[in-house]
Amino acid sequence: MNWRFPLAAGRTALVAAAGAFAVSALFLLLAGQDPLRAAFVMIGGALGSLDAAYEVLTRTIPLAILGLGIAVAFRANVYNIGADGQFMLGAIAATVAIQATGDLGGLSLPWLLAAGAVGGALFGALAGWLRARFDASEIIVTIMLNYIALQFLAWLVRGPIQETVAILPRSNLIPEPAFMPDFSDGQTHAGIVIALVLAVIVFAVLRHSVFGYRLDAVGESRPAAEYGGISAGRVIVLAMAASGGLCGLAGAVEVAGVFHRLEENMAPGAGVTAIAVALLARLNPLAIPFTALLFGVLTVGAGALQRQMGVPFPLLWIIEAVVIFAFLLAGVRRTRPA
């Protein structure tokens, strides 16, 4: 992972795009559809109207923040597959916190967002600590924690924090001052500003801070980092806390910006998409908002494809897998051993 090769990043994008187009065309033909027409439907569905463009923007926000979270962990070679669980814990913490205190006026939104970040950070740090202290594979642990968070959320919205009328599995609305400022009659919200600011902050921290240096050192080689006096265990815990904190913040932003309450399935599949977002950006935080936008377009476009042409939505996941493979293959250097 090197910052200084925009050319290499361009090559990744090219390989990914070519692969994604080829594979999508193949599967569209399998579905008995004309790939060219499908491309028009996808682009028209995602960018053909103002409404659609707003939806793309709204979908981009969580993908960008989750992608930043993934990038922080992956830079330290810590494979956080638990973005979905940390997102849920963030959404839960945000909702519970604001409902516990009630309306705090101008402080409501910052309080909600901070609570979400802390909720996600603690959940992430748990996995990091189990890895650092007990060598428990963070891949399996974070996946297991996803399923645990899913059940925990399912219980909460049917039990202790279910809406007062107790009809649907969801919480009461949060107080209005905690809503994210929105644009165009609520079609999209200010979360995009948060995502962009976060991208700059994460870039600055990774590039210019001691913490960022330590992440990269541990990512390159744990033994070498330890030899250089860095406590790899601490870095892993902190990396997972930061990663989980960002993912939790994404959950809080969705609560404040879109749902205005706690629900199930607030961002289905987003954790996996965020991995593709981060990898396609070659883990560069400044590139992540753009790759997130790309996947926002793909997500909304895949929805249009399903509605208008009956092409199954899971095509999106196939495209995501192709993008990740392309990222991997574009990074291959033909090395000949000495």
């Binding site: 599967f27 399998l30 579905a31 494979y79 597959i81 189990l130 007990f134 060598d135 428990a136 594979s137 891949i139 399996i140 642990v141 996946i143 297991m144 924690l145 996803n146 399923y147 645990i148 059940q151 925990f152 399912a154 219980w155 049917r158 039990g159 996996v272 991995i275 593709a276 990898l279 199954p312 939505f313 899971p314 095509l315 999106l316 996941w317 196939i318 495209i319 995501e320 897998a321 192709v322 990740i324 493979f325 990222f327 991997l328 293959l329 990074g331 291959v332 090395t335 000949r336 051993p337």
Partner: protein, 308 residues
């Protein structure tokens, strides 16, 4: 706990352990050869879909199973190509494989028998009839009222243990996973051996997925594997890469899963979600207690470049 409860629990433990055991046995061999495959979940999903679809198209669950095995092998071939010959990061490739499996199975399902509104009947395996043996109290229901695949996987576990521990080929696989350079120097084809082991892992994961759809549940549901692929990887660690150890690890998980389903019914005042969590919590707990003490195959997840 009365006898009926315990008998039901043990019988269910075998049934619920089977899909995980299939996948974990294959993963154990892959890892012994030095290849990490975290894409098991995706392979099982593809196996579950292909098995069900193959059974619907051909009308035979056996042909469905064959199709699932072939699909699992195809998925493993992708992993072998990019990880062994292009030497990309095996963990990230495995994540991509999981996503690919999710996409392929969901896409295929909605395109074929999932598209109609009416339910399509999937031809499923019948449980074996052992006659009088099945009527023996306790032992009958626990051991002699299962699908053929349950017995098949138990036989495979024993055979695989013997193969890995007692044959020259098993030794070759272990050598390739411990010290590929030495294995290569002694004339073993490292990449060929690793490819073969990965393909075996794919076949087994495909079969495990098919067990879910055409034996245990009799239906395909998107994302129906529900983390079992990752629990299988954890079971390889608990079983210490040993087929018999893996067998007991998966039986433990089968029992835990069976227990949580029964405890839900017995404790209606405790929210059921906490019981559903139980196997996942156990998986984390077991990893915490056993990871430090386990010794990974020395060359696990390390790419091998054949010297020329």
């Amino acid at each position: 706990m009365d006898q009926i409860f315990l008998v039901g629990l043990l019988a269910a433990a075998f049934r619920l352990a089977t899909p995980v055991l299939f996948a974990a046995l294959g993963e154990a061999v892959s890892q012994r050869a030095g290849v990490l495959n975290v894409g098991i979940e995706g392979m099982m999903l593809v196996g579950a879909f292909t098995g069900a679809w193959g059974a619907v198209v051909t009308g035979s669950p056996w042909l469905g199973l064959l199709a699932a095995i072939a699909a699992g092998i195809a998925m493993a071939a992708i992993h072998a190509l990019v990880c062994l010959y292009y030497r990309v990061d095996q963990i990230v490739a495995g994540i991509a494989l999981t996503v690919l499996g999710l996409g392929l199975s969901g896409f295929g399902y909605r395109l074929t028998f999932g598209s109609g509104s009416g339910g399509v009947r999937i031809p499923t395996f019948e449980k074996l009839d052992f006659g009088a043996l099945g009527q023996v109290p306790v032992l009958g229901p626990v051991l002699f009222q299962h699908h053929a695949m349950v017995y098949a996987v138990l036989v495979i576990a024993l055979a695989q243990w013997w193969f890995m521990a007692r044959t020259g080929w098993g030794l070759a696989i272990r050598a390739v996973g411990e010290d590929p350079a030495a294995a290569h120097a002694s004339g073993l084809g490292v990449l060929r051996t690793r490819t073969a082991c990965l393909l075996w892992g794919g076949a087994m994961a495909g079969a495990g997925g098919a067990y879910l759809s055409i034996a245990e549940i009799g239906n395909f549901v998107e994302d129906m594997v529900a983390g079992r692929g990752f629990i299988a990887i954890a079971c390889v660690v608990y079983g210490r890469w040993n087929s018999i150890g893996v067998l007991f690890a998966t039986l433990f998980f089968g029992a835990a899963d069976a227990a949580q389903i029964r405890l839900q019914a017995l404790n209606p005042d405790i929210p059921y979600q906490f019981f559903v969590m139980l196997p996942y919590v156990l998986a984390v707990g077991a990893l915490v207690f056993l990871s430090r003490r386990s010794r990974l195959p020395a060359a696990l997840a390390q790419p091998f470049v054949p010297p020329r």
